[in-house]
């Protein structure tokens, strides 16, 4: 009896091993489904659904810029748009969402490039024949069809150049953002590359404000207490600017301690107008999603045919990489951004 | 004299159970009316009806001759009915005054507590009750169990009730403290309060009660002046049979099972004794004398400062109860609810707690086998439970204690330490436990019996050790000892 049972077990084990399938060594081996296409009839349009998958889906900056433009685009084109993703910053959950969405076969996928780790999920979508566009940060290791976004290294450089100018090339500076995020780390690198050319600039440190206004304010207050001669502070996430500005104002050093940061939410703009923040390095986020969605549409509808059959030719009829550029907002032009 | 409270034909049914059936009861001002009955006789249900926790299904309650319905505890307190529960409800981390005036502290206009007034009012109350050794500012946690009981009563009296219900007030206090309590009760009686007194200790009813009402299986038996009944009458009325703590023959031999030498811990010092095979060794003393502490030290719960423990003539190092169990010692703790029973687990799981491997077949634990074992003990100990899968918390105190004892019968240690094994248990279960313990001794176990009930010690023990303030005050032979002799050793400073 025991013998039979153990034989059965071994048999089952061998059968199981036979059913085992290792992951592909490289991308070439992946079976590729033909890209989904559609025609321009109204009926077809009404059935089309473009899905955006991001993380931290409720973040105001995402809602007001990325998602608003995407929805506006959908209404204009007469197609359905959906926005999915976890409420918090949770990359694995975003990956899970992408992979679950693939099964529901959307017309096109617009994915926030939060982390290189989502490359596999993007590849799965591409392999399933779903047009897939990445925005914000590129995932170069993936087989995404197109990318639109800002070069974060450039954001760092732009802040660095401006800060060096503001403090006259000397003094103590600090910077903060979310540590461990790829795009931020690129930005930090750009910033430091600029400061390297100024031997009189002393970088006091790199701090994690966890994308939280209170944390940014507390860090700044501590910094100002420890270094009363602090010349400037750079911020890299949406909440860095308001937090730094709050602490600098409370210390009575508005204008004395120079601030550059990213994003141009109403709060940021107001602080620029007040003269607390000297410069904002703004992204054109609306363009990421508007044109990203348009790329998807153009792929599906084969708007621009570059060959007899682009799919057979193995080519892609939308731009590979788009840098939307940066906005430089200072006291001089801030009024144009403040809505009447 | 007209009764202030009258119950007429009170009935209360739970699905499948008649908890109370046509119960009559009346209470006069200035009397102590005792309420007797086994566990499950309906005393708790009756008290819950009086305090508004439960509503009767039939019957009438008259207060000063007019019918009342008590909708809840707040209503009961408004009507002047206060209860002191068996389990203390005082909060150890708060002061005496804050406990007594819980949620009713005198407040200033802004809502802040006026501590001066709070302490003054408390002091006045304590003075009135002649509880002069309790300070309003003391933390309740620092008081003795008896003093805590007094605080509990003071808390109930702070609202100046006309009817005071005392549920087992002497269960956790010493003889001396009981005497103080009785003096307090007599004083309340003289003030014209009506007191309902519930106790398992029949002897004290004769000291304190004026009349006694007996309930049995939810039915009213009788009400009589206490002077007209004897202890045996009451027992007969409660259980329908004569239960006597007949002295069991000693079965002790000369073979030592457990020897302790110069045992010294934080609350006791230089305790030495030998427990022999087949012997029940009584450990007497006032509450707080250090009896439980000695047991806990032997069982490895509390650390020893000095001393040796030998089991079967071999020195044993016991640092944890698991070591003690391995050496063949079992322990039934005094605090059944917090230390003995697993209230939310089944009877079966309770029985197996100390010897889980008993339910193994090979190396695997099996619930079928566990159930068989539990069933065996259910029958052997006559545990009243519909199934061994029943939650132990739903059992009566006596049956819970049987489950704890079954645990050690299963683990089968040579030495069993039992600490107040019949505390808060009804008379019927009590005598069953007594039979069980003497049976174990006859089988050749050694039993160390800690008890505050002297009749229990006198009935069971071969020898009685008396501990006074952490030291051994003397040893008495079980068959010749008297309550007076034990108390003399235990109490004399």
């Amino acid at each position: 009896m025991k013998l039979i049972r153990s034989r059965l077990f071994i048999g089952a084990f061998i059968a199981a091993l036979a059913g085992c399938e290792l992951p592909p060594r490289d991308q070439a081996g992946v079976t590729q489904q033909a890209l989904q296409t559609s025609d321009d009839s109204d009926a077809a349009l009404a059935n089309e659904e473009y899905v955006m998958v991001t993380t931290a889906v409720s973040m105001p900056m995402y809602v007001n810029h990325d998602q608003a433009a995407f929805k506006r685009w959908g209404e204009k084109m007469g197609v359905k748009t959906s926005i999915l993703g976890p409420a918090d910053w949770d990359v694995p959950a975003q990956i899970n969402t992408i992979e679950e969405v693939i099964g529901t076969r959307p017309t096109g996928l617009l994915i926030n490039g939060t982390d290189p780790a989502i490359a596999q999920a993007i590849d799965k979508a591409v392999a399933a024949g779903i047009p897939t566009v990445v925005y914000d940060s590129d995932i170069p290791s993936s087989r995404r069809h197109a990318f639109l976004g800002t070069n974060w290294y450039e954001i760092g450089r732009m802040q660095g150049e401006e800060m060096a100018r503001l403090i006259g090339g000397k003094g103590k500076v600090a910077y903060m953002g979310i540590l461990g995020l790829n795009n931020m780390e690129d930005g930090f690198r750009g910033l430091l590359d600029v400061f390297k050319r100024y031997p009189n600039i002393e970088v006091v440190g790199k701090f994690d404000d966890k994308a939280n206004v209170e944390t940014a304010a507390r860090l700044t207050a501590d910094l100002l207490a420890a270094h009363p001669d602090m010349a400037g502070i750079c911020g890299f996430d949406s909440n860095s600017g308001p937090g730094i500005a709050l602490a600098v104002k409370e210390a009575g050093k508005a204008g004395t301690v120079k601030i550059t940061t990213v994003d141009w939410e109403p709060e940021h703009l107001r602080l620029v107008k007040e003269g607390v923040i000297q410069m904002l390095a703004g992204q054109k986020r609306e363009l990421f999603t508007w044109y990203g969605a348009q790329f998807l549409y153009d792929m599906v509808h084969r708007t621009n045919k570059l060959s007899g059959n682009d799919a057979l030719a193995g080519i892609n009829s939308v731009p590979n990489t788009v840098n939307t550029g940066l906005l430089r907002i200072t006291k001089e032009n801030v009024n144009q951004f403040l809505l009447p | 004299m007209n009764p202030i409270l009258q119950l007429r034909g009170i009935s209360k049914y739970f699905p499948g159970v008649k908890a109370l059936e046509q119960v009559d009861f009346d209470l006069r001002a200035g009397e102590v009316h005792a309420l007797c009955g086994e566990n499950g006789a309906g005393k708790s249900t009756l008290m819950n009806i009086l305090t508004g926790n439960l509503q009767p299904d039939a019957g009438q309650m008259l207060l000063d001759g007019s019918a009342v319905a008590i909708s809840g505890p707040a209503e009961a307190s408004r009507l002047g009915i206060a209860i002191v529960y068996q389990q203390l409800s005082v909060i150890n981390t708060l002061s005496v005054a804050e406990n007594i005036f819980a949620n009713r502290q005198p407040r200033s206009k802004l809502g802040f507590i006026r501590y001066g007034e709070l302490y003054a009012q408390t002091q006045a109350l304590l003075d009135k009750l002649r509880l002069t050794n309790i300070r309003p500012q003391s933390l309740v946690g620092e008081l003795s169990p008896g003093q805590r009981q007094m605080v509990e009563i003071a808390k109930a009296l702070a609202q100046d009730p006309r009817i005071l219900i005392l549920d087992e007030p002497t269960a956790s206090i010493t003889q001396q403290e009981s005497d103080t309590l009785f003096a307090l009760i007599r004083q309340l009686k003289a003030d014209g309060k009506a007191i309902i007194y519930i106790s398992h200790r029949l002897k004290e009813l004769f000291t304190i009660a004026d009349r006694v009402t007996v309930l049995k299986d939810g039915r009213y038996q009788t009400t009589r002046p206490i002077a007209d009944v004897t202890s045996n009458d009451l027992i007969r009325l409660m259980v329908g049979r004569d239960v006597e703590f007949a002295r069991t023959p000693a079965s002790g031999t000369g073979e030592p099972l457990l020897e302790v030498k110069n045992l010294t811990g934080s609350r006791f010092e230089r305790i030495s004794f030998t427990l022999h095979r087949g012997e029940i060794l009584g450990l007497a003393g006032l509450v707080g004398a250090g009896r439980t502490e000695v047991a806990r030290a032997i069982f490895g719960i509390d650390p020893l400062i000095e001393g040796r423990v030998m089991v079967h003539n071999k020195p044993c190092i016991i640092r944890h109860p698991a070591d003690a169990v391995a050496a063949g010692i079992g322990y039934v703790p005094e605090e059944r609810k917090t230390q003995g029973i697993f209230l939310n687990m089944s009877v079966m799981e309770n029985v197996l707690a100390a010897d889980l491997p008993a339910a193994q077949t090979g190396r695997w634990y099996g619930i079928g086998k566990a159930r068989q074992i539990a069933e065996r003990f259910r029958e052997q100990l006559r545990m009243a439970t519909p199934s061994v899968m029943q939650r132990a918390g739903l059992l009566s105190g006596g049956n819970q204690q049987k489950a704890v004892l079954a645990r050690w019968l299963l683990a089968n240690p040579d030495v069993l330490i039992v600490d107040e094994p019949t505390h808060g248990i009804d008379v019927g279960a009590k005598s069953e436990i007594h039979t069980l313990l003497s049976g174990l001794a006859a089988q050749g176990k050694g039993i160390l019996l800690i008890s505050s009930e002297l009749p229990e010690l006198l009935a069971l023990a071969d020898r009685i050790l008396v501990i006074r303030q952490g030291t051994l005050a003397g040893e008495l032979a079980g068959d010749t000892a008297t309550e007076e002799a034990i108390m003399a050793l235990a109490a004399h400073a």
């Binding site: 290792l22 949770d90 982390d115 | 499950g40 230390q339 634990y365 009566s396």
Partner: protein, 335 residues
């Protein structure tokens, strides 16, 4: 009898889950009841479910561990760091990652069980410390993990990705062990009444230490699987996982006071939460609704339990307020 079944969360949750599946299949016939969808759904919850098994064991013994999410990130990050930056062979790196998890579990367990630090405080502090460590080893994320490491989480068996099978293995093994070994039965006693367990000769402190080590080790395993499945180690992995897992385990029938819960309940709780999130994706409902709905479901589940308990307590004739602490004089049983 019916009451008994209704009070066993494993039954009620299975029933609710099945019902939810049937309704979803009816509403989304094309997208929900497909092999691809279930394969993906199970893959997505497999990591949480493995961590939930350890958490279930902790909750049975009346404690919990908030640091598991950080351990997932740290253990995975450490092995990735060693493999990518120091070319450490895959098995050695895995052992190092698991070893770090064991060590973290040991520290938690030792300080809680032997030194008496409150589990909430200890594991909360550990959560921060280990997250900081994860940030150090994983930095801005580590990609390009060795092929054989990725193969652990990305291989498929019978068309289903490996983490699902590992989850099945872990759940099956622990279900068996917890039901059939004396060692694991002891955790119910510890959770039921710690003092009584100690006085029954159970070495409570040692058992708790083991439970924390076991839970952290399972979190370490989860960290390996997650990083190998993603092919990358991120310092943000497992953020918020601790609360998600505790929610799953409580849905699965555990109680914060200890003594109750079954291992399959951990899987069911995770499955139910995965299912809700999957249906949300299919129905294209935004992320924050998911949190609101899960919160509501948790409250309802616990509330139904209390209501059932109260009903059975009334039947037994106990006054209402003593539902949780029955008086030693249980009324009406003694006959």
């Amino acid at each position: 009898m019916l009451n008994q079944i209704l009070r066993d969360r494993v039954y009620t949750l299975t029933l609710t889950t099945l019902l939810l599946c049937i309704v979803s299949a009816a509403v989304f016939p094309a997208t929900f009841p497909t092999f691809e969808n279930f394969r993906q759904l199970l893959l997505n919850l497999s990591i949480d479910a493995i961590v939930a098994v350890g958490m279930m064991l902790l909750l049975i013994s009346g404690v919990f561990d908030l640091s598991v999410g950080s351990v997932v990130a740290f253990a995975g990050g450490l092995s990735a760091h060693l493999m990518v930056f120091y070319n450490v062979p895959v098995p050695v790196a895995i052992l190092a990652g698991l070893g770090s998890a064991v060590l973290i579990g040991w520290i938690n367990g030792y300080l809680i069980a032997y030194q008496g630090i409150n589990p909430l405080i200890q594991t909360l502090a550990m959560m921060g410390i280990v997250r900081g460590g994860a940030l150090m080893v994983a930095g801005a994320g580590i990609q390009n993990l060795p092929y054989w490491y990725n193969a652990i989480g990305q291989s498929k068996l019978l068309g289903v990705q490996m983490p699902v099978w590992y989850m099945g293995l872990v759940v099956a093994a622990f279900t068996f062990l917890v039901n059939r070994t004396v060692f694991f039965r002891r955790y119910y006693y510890i959770g039921g009444n710690e003092q009584a367990a100690e006085l029954s000769g159970i070495r409570v402190r040692r058992m708790k230490l083991y439970a924390f080590i076991l839970s952290a080790t399972l979190a370490g395993v989860a960290g390996m699987l997650l990083t190998s499945r993603l092919g990358a180690a991120l310092s943000t992995l497992g953020r918020g996982m601790e609360l998600r897992v505790i929610t799953a385990v409580i849905l699965g029938g555990a109680s914060l006071t200890g003594g109750v819960g079954k291992i399959p309940g951990a899987l069911l709780g995770a499955l139910f939460m995965g299912l809700v999130s999957n249906i949300m994706v299919i129905a294209r409902v935004s992320g924050y609704w998911q949190e609101i709905i899960l919160g509501l479901i948790l409250i309802i589940a616990v509330w139904i339990d209390l209501a059932l308990q109260r009903r059975s307590a009334v039947r037994q004739g106990l006054p209402r307020k003593s539902v949780n602490t029955p008086s030693p004089e249980g009324v009406g049983i003694e006959k």
